[in-house]
């Protein structure tokens, strides 16, 4: 019995018990459903063992959407608690758990997989490649992310949720002040998904550097692919660092090391330091892809070349480098001297310059354009002014001396939501709608899409604008309640009402996916948006091998030029195509990873060691197998038939 006690939830509530029942019932339903419809084999063969970048991308996006839902539920709970003064829906402990979960899930398990989903699907297609450089590694990345996400998500029903914020600052996150296993979950689940992220970074950099279609130079890459390049450049620098920081944190909690303790030479502030050396570039890992998506969409629907290609690339590279040298702006108040603060303050403000260049380039692209107000375009247009508010308040926060006033207030919360939601969430939704036909062969409904857009765009501001004001008035963040006398009540109520509208907007988006899947026409052709880059030159949905013959590229908008100037993109004859085999090893290996991480969380060392050996066994197995696993070939006849079928139906 004693053994099982550790898995109990230390601070339960009715909602948690209800969720347990809910999770159990849903899992049961899935198992029964799969068995009843005899879909296990299909699931295993077509999805779990797949190494196809498009399918992996779709799985990432599916996971991201589910996590978006979970994060949204958390957010609504937070806003419900803050709606009126002295509210008691959540007690302080639950409030802490919910905002910690909200932050981690939204950044690590919603935004990141969403990014990887789009990256997986679009990047190889934009550079004219048949897959990524290391398809199997790609599968491992996905499953590591997935296992990390699942691990984090079971925390609140098995052993207790983390409660030290998404930043998990020590000493609060130490054994002493956070005795439940919650923070162990944080350390281990982020470690798993972070490892997957690092592998993705390596994989896609290699892909972009070496697998471009004949003739495609770096300075001709579509802007989305450029964004992916710099994003992955940031990933390979900061994710190893984060892995070390997480390992330190985990060792402090599990093995009694003294990294972030207060006595004995430890330094709690080192956690904050390492966290932000990773954390600041991390927010740029999210925003740079978004810039890429907006560039694609704006130039497509303004029907013009992107204005200032070279300055767009240069500003992205500048942002990449600058974002590595500004991290201390997150802790100006921690006690370092004026010199250090000034250096980081100036570096931070400098980021506004390349960001400004990008904004002007988009505006210049729009000017004289024949703008078409499709849903992806609406999201992109709404981004510009809203993100501007986020950026300008960022510069306010960047001034070290002023930051002492509003650091850790709702003003900061408003700032980063004004950057992340229009910057990242709008972008990914816009990208999802834009590339949806490429993934599935039908479009999402524009009318329903516009309803969800307007709901989100309006209620986003209703939710977050009031926080600028209450923040400047001194409302601290991460406080589970406030008193009547503070006068924060009315504005908070407005924000909470806004949150409902925002949630409604996302629900309409989900409904759109459901509705469109059932009713939208399937004969849309390969280029429904009249777009510009290579992915639109092949059938939708894309066949496994992507390109029957590799395209020959002469410009950054190869497909547009092919359409308008009559270039022949595909001069080669069809040849046999070599493809990698599917494999169950990535999945199995990641399940073992999951077991190992879970055992470490609960201090079950022998099982953790056994899992480690299991992981190595998988790698050793692969090492030998690779000597005679040569993949398979698709024959010319089969390719021609497939092309005929897909293209024929499109005409």
């Amino acid at each position: 019995m004693e053994f099982f006690e550790r898995f109990a939830v230390p601070h339960p509530s009715f909602a948690i018990y209800a969720s347990m029942v809910g999770i159990a019932l849903t899992s049961l339903a899935i198992v029964v459903g799969l068995t009843y419809f005899k879909k296990w084999g299909y699931l295993w063969r077509e999805w779990i063992t797949t190494v196809d970048h498009k399918r992996i991308g779709i799985m990432y996006i599916l996971a991201a959407l589910i996590m978006l839902l979970r994060g949204l539920v958390d957010a609504v709970m937070l806003r419900a608690q803050l709606a009126i003064p002295d509210n008691t829906i959540l007690d302080s402990q639950h409030y802490n758990e919910v905002f910690s979960a909200h932050g981690v899930i939204m950044i690590m398990f919603m935004a990141m997989p969403f990014l990887f989903g789009l990256m997986n699907i679009v990047t190889p297609l934009q550079i004219g490649a048949r897959d990524v450089a290391f398809p199997r590694l790609n599968a491992i990345s996905f499953w590591l992310f997935f296992m990390g996400a699942m691990l984090f998500n079971i925390a609140f029903v098995v052993g207790g949720a983390p409660d030290a914020g998404w930043t998990s600052y020590f000493p609060l996150a130490s054994e002493e002040f956070s005795p439940s296993v919650g923070t162990n979950y944080y350390m281990m689940s982020l470690q798993l998904s972070g490892l997957g992220t690092l592998m993705t970074g390596i994989n896609f950099l290699t892909t972009i550097f070496r697998m471009r279609a004949p003739g495609l130079k770096l300075m001709q890459l579509p802007m989305f692919t450029w964004a992916m390049l710099v994003t992955n450049v940031l990933i390979i620098a900061v994710f190893p660092l984060f892995a070390v920081a997480l390992a330190f944190g985990a060792m402090d909690r599990m093995f009694g090391t003294q990294f972030f303790t207060i006595g004995n030479g430890g330094m709690d502030m080192m956690w904050a330091n390492l966290f932000w050396v990773w954390g600041h570039p991390e927010v740029y890992i999210l925003i740079l892809p978004a810039f890429g998506i907006y560039s694609e969409i704006i130039s497509t629907f303004a029907r013009r070349n992107l204005y200032g290609y070279k300055s767009m690339v240069a500003s992205m590279v500048a942002i990449t480098i600058l974002s590595l040298v500004v991290w201390a702006h997150h802790f100006y108040t921690m006690g370092q001297g004026v010199l250090a603060n000034s250096i980081f303050s100036i570096a931070t403000m400098a980021i506004a310059v390349p960001t400004g260049i990008k904004i002007f380039n988009w505006l210049a692209t729009l000017r004289k354009g024949k703008i078409e107000f499709t849903t992806p375009m609406l999201w992109s247009l709404a981004f510009i002014p809203t993100f501007l508010i986020g950026g300008v308040t960022g510069v306010m926060l960047a001034m070290a001396s002023a930051d002492f006033q509003y650091h850790n207030t709702m003003f900061l919360v408003a700032h980063f939501h004004y950057t992340i939601i229009p910057g990242v969430v709008y972008a990914f939704i816009a990208g999802l709608i834009y590339w949806w036909p490429k993934m599935f062969g039908f479009m999402l409904n524009e009318k329903i899409g516009k309803v969800s857009f307007w709901l989100v765009a309006i209620f986003f501001n209703v939710t977050f604008f009031p926080m600028f004001i209450t923040g400047l008035d001194g409302q601290a963040r991460r406080m589970y309640t406030y008193s009547e006398e503070t006068g924060f009540g009315p504005l908070n109520l407005i924000a909470s009402i806004g949150a409902i509208g925002l949630a409604l907007g996302f629900i309409v988006l989900a409904y759109n996916i459901y509705w469109s899947t059932r009713y939208m026409p399937r004969n849309i052709g390969s280029d429904p948006w009249n777009a510009r880059s290579l992915e639109w030159s092949i059938p939708s949905p894309v066949p496994v091998y992507n390109f029957a013959t590799l395209p020959h590229v002469k410009s950054s908008q190869a497909f547009w030029d092919a359409k308008t100037k009559g270039h022949n993109l595909f001069p080669d004859k069809v040849e046999e195509i070599h493809m990698p085999n599917n494999s169950g090893v990535p999945f199995i290996m990641c399940v073992i990873f999951f077991i190992g991480a879970f055992s470490l969380i609960f201090d079950m060392i022998p099982l953790a060691i056994a899992s480690l050996i299991g992981v190595f066994a998988c790698m050793a197995y692969r090492s030998f197998e690779a000597n005679h696993d040569h993949g398979y070939h698709i024959h010319v006849k089969e390719i021609e038939e497939t092309e005929e079928r897909l293209r024929g139906a499109n005409k």
Partner: protein, 197 residues
């Protein structure tokens, strides 16, 4: 698979070239990992709490280790050279030598750790010692992993001969091993020598 015979075996297919570039990028990520350890190490110098500081270092084992790793880096270079000459036997000999030197390194390092612990310096004693053991341990864990990896390559080269596939693995392994040598040089210089100054 298209094989380009004008290039050394390990570069001869596109898949091989991808793997080599990918591994270089991985090594860059490893630089970031060790940089983090070093950054923390430098910041924690002197934060010894009630535990001992750099006075626990001894020069002899460190020198043995340095020469063992430097030599192993040399021998694995020779192994790759022999591989390019198509001399499987010499290659395997040099690889074996490399791994033997790796074992010497590990043996000495483990013994050193035991002496540290004996002198009351454990990973739990102070902030300084936590990061010291983590830095050395991370490098040591890399060497241990490298040892088994190398063993696998010896087995595969003996079993399948020098194919584009095995040659590629061996070459990538050599990159890894050289890299560990570089990391050790930095540990040797900025942890040990600087500590004993």
């Amino acid at each position: 698979m298209k094989i380009d015979n004008s290039l050394p075996l390990e570069y001869s297919t596109e898949e091989n070239r991808l793997k080599i570039l990918g591994f270089w990028i991985f090594l860059a990520a490893e630089i970031a990992l060790f940089a983090t350890l070093f950054a923390t190490y430098f910041a924690y110098q002197g934060r010894t709490g009630n535990g001992p500081g750099t006075e626990i270092f001894e020069i002899t084992p460190v020198l043995i280790n340095t020469f063992a790793l430097l030599t192993s880096s040399f021998t694995i270079g020779l192994a790759v050279n022999a591989m390019r000459l198509g001399n499987k036997k010499a290659m395997l000999t040099f690889l074996g030598l490399t791994l033997a030197l790796g074992l010497v390194f590990l043996g000495v390092e483990i013994k050193e750790f035991f002496t540290f612990v004996h002198e009351g310096a454990t990973i739990q004693t102070s902030g300084y010692l936590s990061i010291l053991f983590s830095t050395l341990g991370t490098h040591g864990a890399h060497v241990s992993l490298g040892f088994f990896w190398g063993l696998f390559i010896i087995i595969q080269v003996s079993k399948y001969g020098l194919t584009p596939h095995t040659a590629n693995k061996a070459f990538i392994f050599s990159l890894y091993w050289h890299f560990l040598d570089v990391v050790w040089i930095f540990i040797f210089s900025f942890v040990y020598l600087k500590g004993m100054m």
